[in-house]
């Protein structure tokens, strides 16, 4: 899923404080799972903003709302009226939702989150990066461990010399992805495949090739 983290409150306040009316819009899918941008969080941020407006004696009406997904048209049907009344929107969606709304409505749409990564939830309250959407998945040959997102140098023929007791050279908190690859290949009885040299990556399928899209011809 897409993981995001709320921006510092001061940064949000500086973006929105000049408006007379603001709607805080949650997105109740990915970023709700990480408790940063769901409809519940939209209510909390709206309350904080109201308090701040009162403290600073700023005249701004703040409404909170939300939908299931800010990245598809059909979910907006019930909220069209509210959006029409809004002078500006603080979107708590990932960067995708913010842009989707910005294309859809001619009012300022501000991001309330920093979209941080594509990750999983290994335990409650912990989110870890697992994918960079590089467009050419190699998990089949790396034992199911992604070197692009999990190796700090995205090495395809790792580990580098900085791997120490299972940790990455950048931090003792970070697991060495290539230690994980080796452990996993060994567990699968496939350590012999380690010596196959991974070829040069075609990064044109990554963001290097420009914005990506694909279209289903049947629709």
């Amino acid at each position: 899923m897409i993981v995001g983290e709320q921006k510092p409150f001061e940064e949000i306040w500086e973006m929105v404080k000049g408006h007379k009316q603001l709607t805080v819009f949650g997105c109740n899918t990915c970023v709700a799972v990480c408790h940063q941008g769901g409809n519940k969080e939209a209510g909390i941020i709206a309350a904080q903003l109201r308090m701040r407006a009162t403290q600073d004696d700023v005249d701004i009406e703040i409404i909170d709302s939300g939908i299931e997904r800010q990245c598809e048209h059909e979910f907006f049907e019930k909220t069209e009226e509210l959006v029409k009344k809004s002078e500006a929107i603080l979107s708590l969606a990932c960067g995708i939702g913010v842009q989707f709304m910005a294309e859809k409505y001619e009012i300022p749409i501000y991001p309330g989150l920093n979209t941080t990564f594509l990750g999983d939830v290994p335990e409650t309250g912990l989110y870890t990066e697992k994918c960079q959407a590089c467009g050419d998945c190699v998990l089949g040959v790396t034992g199911g461990v992604c070197p692009v997102s999990r190796c700090a140098k995205r090495l395809f023929n790792g580990p580098c010399g900085g791997s120490t007791t299972g940790k990455c050279e950048i931090s003792k908190e970070t697991e060495c992805a290539w230690q994980l690859v080796v452990d996993r290949l060994e567990a699968l009885g496939r350590l012999d495949t380690y010596e196959k040299i991974m070829p040069l990556k075609d990064w044109s399928k990554d963001r290097s090739g420009g914005p990506r899209s694909f279209k289903l011809e049947d629709f």
């Binding site: 700090a152 140098k153 995205r154 090495l155 395809f156 023929n157 790792g158 580990p159 580098c160 010399g161 900085g162 791997s163 120490t164 007791t165 299972g166 940790k167 990455c168 050279e169 950048i170 060495c176 230690q179 080796v182 452990d183 350590l191 380690y194 010596e195 040299i197 991974m198 070829p199 040069l200 990556k201 990064w203």
Partner: protein
Amino acid sequence: MAATVTGSKLEKILKSGHQAVTSECGPPRSSDPAHIKEKGELIKDHVDSINVTDNQTSVTRLCSLAACIHLKGMGLDPVLQMVVRDRNRIALQSDILGAASFGINNILCLSGDHQSFGDSPQASNVFDLDSMQLVQTVRYMRDEGKFLSGDEIKAPPDMFVGAAANPFGDPFKIRVPRLAKKVASGAEFIQTQCIYNLDKFEKWMEGVRARGLHEEVYILAGITPLRSVGMARYLQKNVPGMDVPDELIERMKGVDKKKQSDEGINIAIESIQRLKEVEGVAGFHVMAIEWEEKVPEIVERSGLYPRPQID
């Protein structure tokens, strides 16, 4: 003598059966080349070739290529260190041609320290290729006379191609297979991480010999003299992939502070003398970090002087 394929002095020394001695110079954080020339001058008679580091520890410095050109201009045989952290395949191939155009005949292909260690942790890193793929790239350019795109290179780069190896990185069990991958990629010489744990290094070399890799690649053992017990402790605790045994720290600690640097030199010399006898060690890479003036003494006292004269 095995036939040489490049104009590299290092290649000639190794293929003539001599144990090679290389050293390295870190370029200055300045546009003044005097510093690098002075370092070259200090060590030139005691080493065969001189590595020039490429923004080591991710701290911005005068570029390796320019520093190599200065050394080449002094009649020396520089080894261009090139990391894949800062350049994509366009820039890497371009710099390789640029270096070759100045007659630089050696390249050491490296990943590079992560930028979080250096002066620009906010920088974007590149890692378009990894170090093995860079080895493949240089070999392809040289041997096939082609760019990665397949386009022809009219005058291919004439370079002896090296890579690094760290026998002390984890997991230990893949450190010999990893060397095998580098050899299969086309590495012709290897310079290792600084060796303090000689037992472990010798164990790694056993694995290297068991696979016959020492007959396919020239392995230069990395030696860095310790200046103090503080340095030994720092390397042990803070430098990932560095293995400094406690006994060495005890030995340094047991010496009067003023004599610790002498003890560090003694340890370096003893290490070289022991490793000279290890089958498959083709030479030494003496990295006296910001202590280049000690290289001649280490080389002389290790019995590696005078250096062979090769045309």
